[in-house]
């Protein structure tokens, strides 16, 4: 049974079909999604080696949200995540080597091996951090936005979180505060219908998440999270509002998680969702979709695609080698940074 069919969804915002984009911009979006996908697949393919001793939460199927949102941001804008960090981190420009070293628990991991996959960090590109506690980073990002407003920084703060995070009360406390103070913050709710193996049905009544945010006094919309341009345009709009002091926006971006909640591979066979549902959603691949568009518009070709893939593959291989050859932390690294001077 397909519990959540794509074609029954209603979206409240979509990019205008007349909008024209630079070819390079579109190819850039494509590349960024493809790169995330390939990195995810590479991690997945080696996860069984048990050398990346960290829980992973793959973002395959949901790449468009990370990429579309971050394409509308500046480097100085900040992104916060939940446990499902990797797509957000890479789309914001986080160092791949830093991430791979972190997954391999190396000393030169982007968080020095204190964080693992759920706590990536790259301040140089505005990837500001995450929380492994569902909903935990929403107040934090809201506070960062308050800090930005207070210090008159021209900076947007963005937080990604899942549908289940909207069940945590502190999110609504944060949204109330953001609306009250007109904070420059974007709430990106990646609705993939599941919280681990629990479907929306057992967690929320039949209401629309974005409408709750609307009732709390923030701009809100629901978009097709398999269409990177929709995500991009919705974010661009939200960024414009936020930069001009118009306050927060809540974007519910709907896309499906193709893999299991954590770890490698799909786990649909275990019974909590129908493998057919996964297949049905795979027809709406954000990457294939854009690829076909590019081809139709003659903006791209197979040769460029192959060399792009090759390039990414090489980068990935290099990052893995970097990580694997990096040193482990030592006992003396254990007790640093408990307190800040």
């Amino acid at each position: 049974m397909i519990r959540y069919p794509y074609n029954e969804l209603e979206f409240t915002f979509s990019s205008s079909p007349d909008e024209t984009y630079e070819a390079d911009f579109l190819i850039g979006l494509y590349r960024s999604m493809l790169r995330i996908r390939m990195i995810q697949e590479a991690i997945e393919s080696r996860y069984h080696e048990d050398e990346m001793k960290t829980p992973i939460h793959l973002v395959i199927g949901q790449e468009a949200t990370s990429v579309g949102v971050c394409a509308a941001l500046r480097t100085t804008d900040q992104v916060y995540s939940s446990h499902r960090t990797q797509g957000n981190y890479l789309a914001k420009g986080g160092s791949l080597k830093g991430m791979m070293s972190e997954l391999y628990c190396r000393l030169n991991g982007c968080a020095g091996s204190r964080g693992g996959s759920m706590h990536l960090l790259d301040k140089s590109v505005g990837y500001a951090g995450s929380s492994a506690i569902v909903g935990g980073s929403v107040p934090i990002a809201t506070g960062a936005a308050f800090g930005a407003q207070y210090l008159k920084k021209d900076q947007i703060n963005v937080v990604f979180f899942g549908d289940a995070a909207t069940e945590e009360g502190a999110i609504w406390e944060s949204i109330n505060f953001a609306a009250l103070k007109s904070l420059p913050v974007l709430y990106i709710c990646e609705n993939n219908f599941y919280s681990v193996c629990s479907s929306m049905e057992v967690r929320q009544p039949k209401v629309d998440i974005y409408k709750k945010a609307g009732a709390f006094g923030v701009n809100s919309c629901r978009i097709d999270g398999t269409q990177v341009l929709n995500v991009y345009e919705a974010t661009r709009e939200a960024v414009k509002i936020a930069r001009s002091g118009g306050g927060p926006t809540f974007i519910e971006s709907v896309a499906y998680r193709w893999r299991g909640h954590g770890g490698a591979g799909d786990d649909s066979a275990s019974g909590y969702r129908d493998p057919e549902e996964v297949k049905a959603w795979q027809k709406f691949c954000p990457i294939d979709g854009l690829y076909k568009d590019l081809m139709k518009k003659n903006l791209f070709d197979e040769t460029r695609n192959s060399s792009m893939k090759k390039e990414i593959q090489d980068e990935i291989e290099e990052a893995f080698q970097h990580a694997i050859n990096s040193p482990n932390p030592e006992e003396k690294d254990l007790s640093t940074y408990v307190y800040s001077d």
Binding site: T54, S113, R114, H119, E168, S198, S270, P329
Partner: protein, 346 residues
């Protein structure tokens, strides 16, 4: 293989069970306890994020909903604070909720309801109401669980009046204490340890209760007393197996419950050995170790023949990476080292 499953499995594979009787894994003992409680009392229901997962909360709840229906065994929204209050309210109104969490870290979201509400109603309401509810969670460790997924918070809660706190270490106790907790008319917290889940042991069929508040000797000896619970106690027992060969012997007391605390058994043993080592899965500071250490210095002072020692977690957050983790968590060798120091009087 996430969540250190490999290590847990391999350790369990090597385990021999000496006693006679039906052998069950820890997780199956818990599963059986829930099954029996659900069969016995229609007022009992089981809830939590993940209880109806195919993997069923590490196996503790697997397929229970198929047998008892989704009215009695159900997945929840991710609203820990709200649901703790909801359990308390349901308990006040005649039911017996059993609320399960993957990790104690998530209980930090619920302290307002747990500490200021559930545990106080019986008292504030002058005995007219009670709150028979169980909150269960599994202490995490390994595979990058890190600072937000492997906290052991029993020590933060030990000073909260009105709560009971249980920390089993054997399948037998896990079952009997779960049943006792569900039968209890107070809010009871159970902390099991992820790394105990596959341990095997003899577990009788049917319903039995382990009394809440009673410790038990796991080993008898002369040189010192070791007290603790759960996974760290298992490590201490391993350490003692090694030290046996060196001629060191100890009373090893599994407290099983932390609140109420079995002071009697501690003092009984201390009177004999004069030395005490307290071990805990949580921070050494200001928690279980501290309480027992102070208690002994207060009421058992004249039996003490050497400094109290404690082994818990250092006062720094838990790192995610496995290399750092190895330095962070006490293991049997570090425990053995402290015991040797204590015995030699160093």
């Amino acid at each position: 293989m996430p969540w250190a499953e490999a290590l847990i499995t391999s350790k369990a594979a090597g385990q021999e069970v000496a006693e006679e009787g039906r052998v069950l894994a820890y997780v199956d003992a818990l599963h059986e306890a829930l099954t029996l409680a659900l069969e016995l009392d229609p007022k009992v229901f089981v809830l939590g994020q993940g209880v109806n997962d195919p993997r069923g909360m590490f196996g503790v709840t697997t397929d229970l909903y198929k047998k008892f229906g989704e009215d009695r065994v159900f997945d929840t929204p991710l609203s820990e604070e709200g649901l703790t209050g909801i359990c308390a309210g349901a308990a006040l109104n005649g039911t017996r909720p059993v609320y399960l969490h993957n990790r104690p870290d998530f209980l930090l979201l619920t302290f307002n309801q747990l500490v200021s509400h559930a545990s106080k109603f019986h008292y504030i309401d002058n005995g007219q109401n009670n709150v028979p509810m169980v909150v269960w969670s599994a202490i995490g460790r390994g595979w990058g669980s890190g600072s937000q997924h492997s906290q052991a918070i029993q020590g933060f809660l030990l000073g909260v009046p009105g709560l009971k706190i249980i920390m089993p270490s054997t399948p037998y106790d896990a079952k009997g204490l779960m049943l006792a907790a569900i039968a209890d008319n107070n809010p009871v917290l159970i902390f099991d340890h992820r790394w105990n889940m596959k341990a095997k042991g003899v577990v009788p069929e049917g319903i039995y209760h382990i009394p809440i508040g009673k410790g038990v000797y796991r080993r008898r000896g002369e040189d010192l007393t070791i007290v603790g619970t759960s996974h760290t106690l298992a490590l201490a027992l391993e350490a003692m197996e090694d030290l046996d060969k060196e001629g060191i012997s100890a009373d090893v007391i599994d407290l099983r419950t932390l609140k109420p605390l079995d002071e009697e058994i501690i003092f009984e043993s201390l009177k004999k050995t004069g030395k005490i080592l307290i071990v805990d899965t949580g921070p050494a500071m200001a928690g279980v170790c501290a309480e027992i250490g102070c208690l002994v210095a207060e009421k058992g002072f004249h039996d003490l023949r050497g400094p109290v020692r404690r082994i818990g977690l250092p006062d720094s957050p838990i790192p995610a990476g496995f290399t750092l983790e190895q330095y962070y968590f006490p293991d049997k060798d570090r425990i053995a080292k402290v015991i040797r120091e204590m015995v030699s009087g160093a």
